[in-house]
């Protein structure tokens, strides 16, 4: 277990009060509110909640300095089950609200919980702009490729041709690839993980928490009621092995035991047999590359048949965060002026340059 290094520049939780040595150790239970989760039985949200609650103690943050902000949808009930501060806001707007909160309060660790409809349909604009600005937010996007709370309509990540209550003849909407979208907006941290893979999910969450700036974590989440088995091909041990493209920083990109990702003559990526592959063409994953092109290319390996599904951290680069810079601009001016404004300063402002006296 790693504890975030307080002094480390770029640490996602820098400025957030940490527990002191004498404080009692936190456990998963400390992060469970007294409200019983009310998701359907077997919903992937349960596993994610357990993973988050189980992982948070290792950050060593004061619980009162953690805030979960959500929008609307099944996943957005999440904050109610967390014994932290929380806001269950309105559809799609969580990133905007969290941006205001994170900017106003350096001492908070702000998490956004959202779904595919919430983040990519009604809230698409806020999502890409939070990412573009690189606000210090951890955005957990539960992608179940369906509208669950409204009982089963196709979502912006549902596959073409999907038959749902609102698309009885099959959906004609092309789905978003959330990782590609985020990388297109030059996200500084993009990862994809799976509700049921506790270990992988926790590793990704840890890296996201350590990242300063917007971390977009797409979590494939099964909705057993309206889209059961959507990710079965990459969950089922036997099937998954051949399909998952493992993104591990600094290592050749592997697919199953016997395949790798390599560049073809035109520079495109392709999955080829490891045996006999031209080693100079095998892609070594570089999540820290300044240029997001490789990460984007990797995100395009995904296809509708799930023949290949990249999982892991696509990109993890350091760039100044929006909120840090906003605060720095103010701090600089205030420091230069010799400290917080006084009544005299206010009086000076009200007077301006052009005054005259009467009487």
């Amino acid at each position: 277990m790693t504890i975030v290094n307080l002094g480390m520049p770029g640490a996602g939780t820098l400025g957030v009060p940490h527990l002191l040595d004498e404080d009692p150790k936190q456990s998963k239970k400390d992060f469970s509110s007294d409200m019983e989760p009310r998701w359907c039985a077997g919903c992937g949200d349960y596993s994610i909640l357990a993973a988050v609650q189980g992982f948070l103690p290792e950050l060593g943050l004061k619980r009162e300095n953690i805030v979960f902000v959500s929008g609307i949808g099944c996943s957005s009930r999440f904050p109610f089950y967390m014994n932290t501060y929380g806001m269950h806001s309105i559809h799609g707007r969580a990133p905007a609200i969290a941006t205001g909160l994170a900017t106003a309060r350096e001492d908070l660790s702000v998490w956004v919980v959202t779904g595919d409809g919430d983040a990519l349909s009604i809230g698409g604009n806020h999502l890409i702009h939070a990412i573009r600005r690189n606000v210090n937010l951890k955005i957990l996007l539960f992608n179940n490729r369906i509208y669950g709370l409204t009982k089963g309509q196709y979502s912006p990540t549902s596959e073409l041709g999907k038959v749902t209550k609102s698309s009885p003849f099959g959906s004609v909407d092309r789905p978003f690839n959330p990782a590609s979208l985020a990388l297109g907006a030059e996200a500084t941290f993009v990862a994809r993980t799976m509700d049921t893979d506790r270990k992988h999910l926790t590793t990704v969450l840890r890296a996201a928490a350590e990242h300063r700036g917007t971390a977009l974590v797409e979590i494939y989440q099964n909705c057993p009621i309206f889209n059961d088995g959507a990710f079965e091909l990459i969950k089922d041990r036997e099937q998954a092995e051949a399909r998952i493209v493992h993104l591990i920083d600094g290592e050749p990109v592997r697919v199953g035991a016997d395949k790798v990702v390599a560049r073809d003559d035109s520079g495109n990526l392709a999955v080829v047999a490891a045996k006999g592959a031209d080693l100079s063409r095998v892609v070594i994953h570089d999540a820290g590359a300044d240029d997001p092109s490789l990460a984007f290319q990797l995100s395009r390996l995904e296809d509708p048949t799930m023949a290949h599904m990249p999982m892991g951290i696509f990109r993890n680069v350091s760039r100044p965060s929006y909120d840090d810079q906003v605060r720095a601009q103010i701090g600089e001016v205030v420091t230069k002026a010799g400290g917080p404004a006084t009544d005299l300063d206010l009086s000076g402002l009200l007077h301006g340059k052009d005054t005259w006296n009467v009487g």
């Binding site: 609307i72 205001g100 900017t103 604009n125 009086s347």
Partner: protein
């Protein structure tokens, strides 16, 4: 040099008009500043074209600035100009209709070319065909006079021509005996880094002044004595600046950081401009991706304990509505500034209207009460902003501040308040558990209300032991837990309403101005119609009409005595720049037969127009009741 006669006037209305590129706003601003320095009371009204770069020389491209100054209290920018400065044919064409016969016109004849005349469909120059015979016309070759005066300057002809507005300003300054030293100072700080341009402008300003002195064309100069004004230090201020300063002052006094979530929109954008410069006061301005994000960021900041504000105009309010409802139900402080403009939809972006009152009141889903406050003059925007903040932070509620385009861009002399005397409004955050549960343990209940204000605690993240969740779903009374219980929803809905209604306890009674004490006619307004209504009342009283006047600042809740006031008069006239929105609220609430007088021309009422409404109402009233 001829000896000029000096004539005293008690008030003058000047309108500077020209192409958008002619610098009329700057000219007007400078003349205003000179006039303020002389101690005249004044009021201004700029009028910009909606298009940023309308074709030069066309009516659409005309920009104007009207200034009313006097030796007495000035309440409006003036119904009609006495003097029109027209820098081109389009400016003349666009403004002549507003100038009463006998008015003075100064035209720049250099611009009255065939081409320019044709652009605005003048077959012959109106300066020459006798069509201006009823006016005092001064045809001056302002452009060539300026270029001649700058003959020795190493500038292109085009650059020299640009100084013609300073020539005009110099001439007008001479004509109305204004000092030009302030303008010289101003030019020095503006063009300090461009000495050629600076010198040219100074020379043009002087040349204009001297031209007045030497030409035969003007036989008289005018003096307007200083007005009697409350003792104090004054400055000129626009409504948008006053709103921004009011917010800064309120945040400073409350010890809260000010956070503005904004998206550019006419005519509110200047509030963002002004505040974005004020980092020295710890002000955070966030220009975000859209109106919804702007209010969202504000709500997030408010949840974090900042004084959160979102400035916008009507279309922006429409977009923010759902989020404002969220703030209503989460009971968080939020100030929404709606600088109203002509609607619906895009409407008339640069023109004024009061048509968002009902949107502010009711433009959300569900029972979603908010407080509404409206300033009455540009300077009053300062106090109204402080009042909006007081209500928002005390009652943990969204508050609408309903300004409008007329207040936002208009300006008036403002007696600068003493910071020590501004209302202090300390904010108390929740720091500890506030209730005992069934087991006798201390707990925190986020919706346990203050018995006096019905406000819930402002419990911001970072306080151990108060962790709680809030949101848009209905909350159980006291505990704040999710609740779908029918009776609880009924109770919470009524509590939220009662909280807003209870604000009335802290609102002063409506003051009625009725010098005769026996008026049976009341004229009642709100917002920016204050000036025209007060001026109209003055005119009507001069004609012997007994009329009482009152102006409502708090639109929700109303002042406690409003019903009583309305019932005390035989006739109540309510002028509004909408189709009767306040009148509708008054009729609904008090069952009083108030009479609406409405206009939606995108322009303020004229006082003469309202005075005639009063005269007519008085005649009818006398016929019926006396």
């Amino acid at each position: 040099m001829s000896i000029k006669r000096v004539e005293r006037l008690d008030s003058v209305v000047i309108r500077f008009a020209g192409d958008s590129g002619d610098g009329m706003q700057l000219t007007g601003d400078r003349f205003t500043s000179e006039t303020a320095a002389l101690g005249n009371d004044l009021s201004t009204l700029p009028n910009y074209p909606a298009e940023i770069r309308a074709p030069a020389g066309t009516i659409l491209g005309v920009s104007s600035f009207q200034l009313h100054f006097a030796d007495h209290h000035v309440l409006t920018p003036g119904d009609a100009p006495d003097v029109l400065v027209a820098m081109n044919p389009a400016a003349l064409r666009a403004n002549l209709g507003d100038l009463p016969r006998g008015g003075t016109i100064i035209v720049n004849t250099d611009e009255f070319t065939k081409r320019n005349l044709a652009k605005v469909k003048y077959a012959v120059s109106p300066v020459e065909d006798g069509s201006l015979d009823g006016y005092h016309v001064h045809p001056l070759a302002l452009t060539s006079l300026t270029v001649d005066a700058l003959a020795d300057f190493p500038l292109s002809r085009k650059d020299k021509e640009r100084s013609k507005n300073m020539f005009a300003l110099g001439l007008l300054s001479w004509l109305y005996t204004r000092p030009t030293t302030g303008t010289e100072q101003f030019l020095k700080s503006k063009f300090g880094s461009k000495p050629d341009i600076l010198e040219a402008n100074l020379a043009a300003l002087n040349a204009g002044f001297n031209y007045g002195e030497t030409t035969e064309d003007f036989a008289v100069t005018y003096e307007i004595a200083p007005a009697e004004m409350r003792a104090g230090t004054y400055r000129n201020i626009t409504g948008n600046t006053a709103v921004a300063y009011g917010l800064v002052a309120a945040a400073h006094l409350a010890g809260l950081p000010l956070v503005l979530g904004a998206y550019p929109i006419t005519p509110a954008t200047d509030i963002l401009h002004v505040l974005s410069k004020l980092k020295r006061f710890g002000v955070t301005t966030m220009q975000v991706e859209d109106e919804i994000a702007a209010v969202g960021a504000a709500i997030g900041a408010s949840y974090g304990g900042a004084l959160a504000v979102t400035p916008t105009s009507g279309p922006g309010v429409a977009l923010k509505s759902e989020a404002i409802g969220l703030a209503v139900t989460m009971e968080l402080p939020l100030v929404i500034i709606d600088v109203q403009r002509g609607g619906p939809s895009t409407g008339l972006p640069t023109k004024t209207e009061q048509s968002d009152l009902l949107q502010a009141m009711f433009g959300r889903n569900g029972e979603s009460p908010v407080a509404v406050v409206a300033p009455q003059s540009p300077g009053d925007c300062f106090d109204a902003a402080i009042e909006a903040v007081r209500i928002a932070t005390t009652y943990r509620t969204p508050v609408f501040l309903l300004s409008d385009g007329y207040l936002a861009n208009g300006s008036e002399p403002w007696c600068i308040p003493d910071v020590a005397r501004l209302p202090h409004n300390p904010v108390i955050f929740a720091t500890e558990p506030n209730d005992v549960d069934a087991n006798g343990d201390w707990v925190f209940h986020p919706f346990l209300r203050d018995p006096e204000t019905l406000a819930r605690p402002w419990a911001i993240p970072g306080v151990a032991g108060l962790e709680h969740r809030i949101g848009g779903i209905e909350k159980a009374d006291v505990t704040g837990d999710l609740s779908y219980d029918p009776d609880n929803h009924d109770k919470m809905t009524r509590l939220r309403q009662a909280k807003i209604d209870g604000i009335a306890k802290t609102i002063p009674n409506l003051v009625v101005d009725d010098p005769s004490g026996d008026a049976d006619l009341l004229i009642l307004g709100w917002g920016s119609t204050y000036g025209p209504i007060a001026e109209a009342t003055r005119l009507a009283r001069q004609d012997g009409i007994h009329v009482a006047r009152a102006h409502v600042r708090h639109l929700n809740p109303f002042p406690p005595n409003l019903g009583e006031v309305l019932r005390a008069y035989g006739r109540v006239i309510v002028p509004e720049m909408n189709l009767g929105q306040l009148a509708m609220m008054l009729r609904a609430k008090y069952l009083v037969d108030v009479q609406s007088y409405t206009r939606v021309r995108g322009l303020p009422f004229t006082s003469v127009e309202l005075a005639s409404v009063l005269t007519e109402a008085n005649v009818n009233l006398s016929g019926v009741t006396r």
